[in-house]
Symmetry: D2
Subunit: 226 residues, 4 copies
């Protein structure tokens, strides 16, 4: 059976901020979905905050192997009922990719139990993403380091439980470090957090970032053993 | 400064069920508190569900180094505001011991993010508690195994994140196994889950169990470095 | 490319002990190899202690994706040069399954750094193998529990580093428990230790055990991302 | 009983290289020992490669709670018998601090089972040591970040097993990152690896580095429960 991916986007900056729309005319979710379609043999659909039930009905989640989540300024507008539903789906085996500012999403906080707080500074500085687990499936085909010319800085301490596997650590031009590629196993579900991806920079057009997202989706997909 | 411990008890079975009151005339919280007073150089107080704010006001939590939690049939009566407060206190550094049926407490589920479900059967069977981490502080002075003549069976799978440290594994007369002594680090706080302790059996009078509780409190206490 | 598996057997009990030969006329390695051939789309060969370089030349290891290892009474006869070679191959990405009494093999001790000691008693008692990580690839298709009627008891404490993932815990009729299914990540390699399998009992003929071995080989195989 | 610490030094650069002697007239081991004496209520002695049995006889190890290890160009001159002895002592409960280039010591490789390889470049660049586990005992009283003006760069991938606890991550002026503060539990022993400390720079005179060493010794000391 083909892999079924749902790319969820908050879709607020894209409608409101001309600079963001200039970078992501199809929305960040549109760009991410297109990249996954290109790299994976998968059925990829999108869903957004503005749709009924944020586009994440029981039916949609029931037909999703891996969900990706990008949100930023509207975390509070996500209904608790949908958060419950996503949490249950993950514990039941659905994979989840949480992207960048999604660290403060209700879904991520709910699944991890910590504040998920971090340090940040937005000056468009260079981020280097270093692989610390070279044998990990998510790191395959990725240069050492990935160079992202302009990004928001995310810094430690990052208030998360110790990840079950740590794949990437970033450094920033200002000298900070960040555990930006973290795997968590919760229930039967696999969660991958990946920090690059601020809306003000074209990070999701970056081929290495797209590669990580595709690898992440493959890794997070439910296990199917013959 | 002396260690400050608050022993929280749901205190429902003790008021309602004569058999439980016969075993625990001072409540399970009373027995646990007395044991900790005897074994630790600590100020130990109790708090119960029935008190205003369940006895867990900001002031009480602010003056608590380690909180122990026993609940069973009234998990839903614990107010979400108190759950929020306990969660914040733990992330800020307060230690937490979650005991037996407390696995289904809102507090534990909130901090772990999973269902915390398990298998169970109550036939008063023998539980053996085996140390798998003999160098761990919580296992010091504990026999291999601890023998508990009559207990409720708790069995795998136990739907928790992989513990940061696994200290004890139990087996039961029926053949089941259970990860009954688990350490979790969340924020600055240390959480120890310990499964022995059903209300129908005199488990908290057992000297080895009392030893584990005292060791657990010591381990969970916030770090104080000169 | 098809998966390439090498099944290594110490092959001493089989030549020496009639009761073992009665159970494993083709050697334990022969039975394991046949089971893997049946369950996997893989090229499976065998190698034994008695062959030059124990059958594990550079060429053989260079053409092996996953190596399985069973040894017991002749651990000391394995040459250090071969142990070095296997260690390097694992760190370079070759998968390794260490079976039963292989816990005391030089290869396992070398890769883990601890004594790998455990408790044991051989009275042919019942072992139950419980899954504690139901979403793990190695646990797919496996009953809860696997029932092995007669086995040697292995008990805690098992002196290993905390496994990167704990999949199975066994209990024995005598009440002991054992972390019998453990995953370790070392370098680029994946190591799975699985405890059932004493030479005196027909454990490797057990269909559920064979299933675990096949799942383990799939899991330990080097990652190939398109 | 007072804590008993043995500071082991390779003591080759100090005798051979005038620049190193200028920084460490009493040897690096002398500077480290003095710092620990100042910060801890402990008996601190030193031992060096050149002494019989490298100063690490059974008697010395038997009277050592925590051993610290600095070596660089003479790893191969450490006898295997002493390596065996140190490994056994650690598994039996002695704490071990492995410092900087000690990552390639036989002792560390033996206990971890991996190559312990890393990237490096010696241009005397700035290292920032970031705390990622703010509640960890080893991070108490340490600024965020520790600033070391001149250091050798150590970079990822660092070929170690996933640490049981990750405390510090460093960044370098060149942009690299390194898991420079790692805790490992092996047998009953606690191992702390701390990367700052090249012989060409006065790193062990740095008050924050001294603080980490003292915290590390406290953390690694065997558990004594009343």
């Amino acid at each position: 059976m083909r892999l079924r991916v749902t790319v969820w986007g908050e879709n607020v900056h894209e409608s409101r901020d001309p600079q963001v729309r200039a970078i992501y005319p199809d929305g960040m979710h549109g760009t991410i979905a297109a990249a996954l379609r290109e790299q994976l043999d998968a059925d990829v659909r999108t869903a957004t905050l503005q749709e009924p039930e944020h586009g994440l009905t029981e039916d949609v989640l029931g037909a999703t192997d891996v969900l990706t989540w990008w949100g930023h300024i509207a975390h509070d507008e996500v209904s608790d009922a949908v958060v419950d539903r996503v949490q249950q789906a993950v514990l039941g085996g659905m994979g989840l990719l949480v992207l960048h500012s999604g660290h403060y999403s209700k879904v991520f906080q709910r699944l991890l139990g910590t504040s998920c707080g971090l340090q940040w500074r937005n000056e468009g500085e260079r981020e280097l993403v270093w692989t610390v687990a070279p044998g990990h499936p998510i790191a395959q085909g990725v240069p050492q380091p990935i160079v992202i010319e302009r990004q928001e800085m995310y810094g430690e301490p990052f208030d998360i439980p110790a990840p079950d596997e740590l794949v990437f650590i970033s450094s920033f031009a200002g000298g900070e470090v960040f555990r930006g590629g973290c795997c968590f196993l919760r229930g039967r579900g696999r969660i991958f957090y990946f920090s690059p991806g601020d809306q003000e920079y074209p990070v999701y057009h970056h081929p290495d970032v797209q590669r990580v997202l595709a690898n992440g989706v493959r890794w997070a997909a439910p296990v199917r053993v013959p």
